[in-house]
Symmetry: C2
Subunit: 299 residues, 2 copies
């Protein structure tokens, strides 16, 4: 991965460390009542994942010259929504998974009812964060941020994508239907991360459109690469159960396109993401590097 430069690795590590600290502060302390719920919320969120959505929010924030204090709050809100979706997605009535980020899933470590409430409470906390910190120059702009995240999480965003996913199991989907599912399931929240990061600072309307184009390409690329990794990685490398989609009869980019063409598609989406950033100049360097990171990662 020689395109991933050392300074990018340092930037990424810095954002990840900053986010871990911010999430730790934003989550209720584990000793506060109800302690079991708060402990389980922290278990679900902390020490986990690559923080791709926060990284995208910070990358977009650089384009908009946004203050890091604002960025860490919107990034945390997006990450809490993502974390809640994983907790609910792992439940027995959904994907029934026992391993996530190398640890037992929340309902295995605690119990199903607690896992349900963990997800519910993480969603509330995410939107609370966007309402209680100063994140934009006007309160009206900040209300628009709340609306953006709620829409991305809801029935016409992430939750809707999970419903489409449920209904796709055992179905033979075509490429357009698969894309529609992912545009909702993972794409909506990735776009929200970029939109909210940019909204912490100043961007023109045309820059907003370019960033959204970038986010759409990166969101799909992320999923295509996930499918490729899932089809040939081991559970130990992924930190979650590998090969699950194939076993559950879920359509994937690999099952529809084959691994070779899926790999090519990821490369094309990476090029599309780069092209969307072209006119933004060096401010968009981190977003460009993130597109490389997302497509070239091995885990």
């Amino acid at each position: 991965m020689k395109v991933i430069e050392t300074d990018f690795q340092a930037w990424m590590g810095g954002v990840q460390a900053r986010m871990e600290a911010a999430l730790g502060r934003f989550l209720p302390a584990a000793h506060l009542a109800p302690a079991r719920l708060h402990e389980a919320m922290r278990y679900a969120v902390l020490e986990g994942g690559k923080r791709v959505r926060p990284l995208l929010a910070f990358g977009a924030g650089e384009v908009a010259h946004a203050a890091p204090e604002r960025l860490e709050t919107v990034a945390a809100a997006v990450e809490l929504i993502h974390a809640y979706s994983l907790v609910h997605d792992d439940l027995p009535c959904m994907d029934d998974d026992v391993l996530r980020r190398g640890k037992p899933t929340v309902h295995v470590e605690y119990d199903e009812a607690t896992a349900l409430l963990v997800g519910d409470a993480l969603q509330s906390l995410a939107l609370q964060l966007l309402a209680e910190h100063r994140l934009a120059d006007s309160a009206g702009a900040q209300l628009e941020m709340v609306r953006t995240l709620a829409l991305a999480a809801g029935s016409r965003g992430m939750a809707g994508g999970q419903q489409i996913d449920l209904e796709s199991t055992g179905q033979s989907l075509g490429l357009p239907e698969l894309e529609l599912m992912h545009i909702h399931k993972t794409g909506a929240l990735i776009r929200a991360a970029v939109t909210l990061g940019a909204a912490c600072g100043q961007v023109s309307e045309s820059e907003k459109l370019k960033l959204d184009h970038y986010a759409k390409a990166v969101g799909l690329a992320f999923q295509v690469v996930d499918d490729v990794l899932d089809s040939d990685a081991s559970t130990a490398t992924l930190g979650k159960t590998a090969g699950k989609d194939a076993r559950q009869g879920k359509p994937t980019y690999v099952s529809i396109l084959g691994p070779g063409r899926a790999g090519e598609l990821a490369g094309e989406l990476r090029a599309e993401a780069h092209a969307a950033l072209e006119s933004l100049g060096p401010r968009a360097r981190r977003l460009a590097q993130l597109a490389d990171f997302i497509v070239l990662r091995k885990f």
Copy 2:
């Protein structure tokens, strides 16, 4: 119930009809993709319940001279949070109930995974509504409304109360612990309904405190009466499974205090609610009538 005057019945019917129409508009149309999710969201919310929280929001709105267009939006947001909590509460991993508002519960009528997503998406929609409609004279005041609802729904509000409830099953709680559970589980959202209704108009700081005192008393009274009704009503009258708490070994006001003393407590809380409203004059008439309605209801 001679204290429930005819004009109150007419007012209540008017608010309920207005809410049914508003909820029908705010919920995504059943034919929009993903249709099964949207249909199930409508099934969970429409044609159901007495709409106690919306009634309280409208009652508080009369104190604040608030516009009905604003009130119906905040009332809908609160009702969507309430509806989501019922859907999740009825799931097999929680109360495992098959009947709600006289109809099969969402996971029985649809399936568990869909019911999970229905609850998730209703929460998103509730907070989206508070962000996208003009509900207060300043956007800053409206952000505070978002924060109020998110806090009431989250781990230090309703979801936290459900966790305390989970942990109380089979335990012998005292009255203070039972009260703590209900202050969170049902009280937080009832207080939010009153706070948000008042926030749609103009109230002084001291009026806010009085309304909150009223809401706390009414919230507890609501639960005490629920326990009394649950202990002696039939499933057909309640439209939900009766006597469930006792069978599940959950502490209730009736199990701790006995039915006689629980009935007295409801009456004392009703008097406390009335006292809190005293200085507010005729503007608080609906709230006073609602306290009577909540305590004297037979269903």
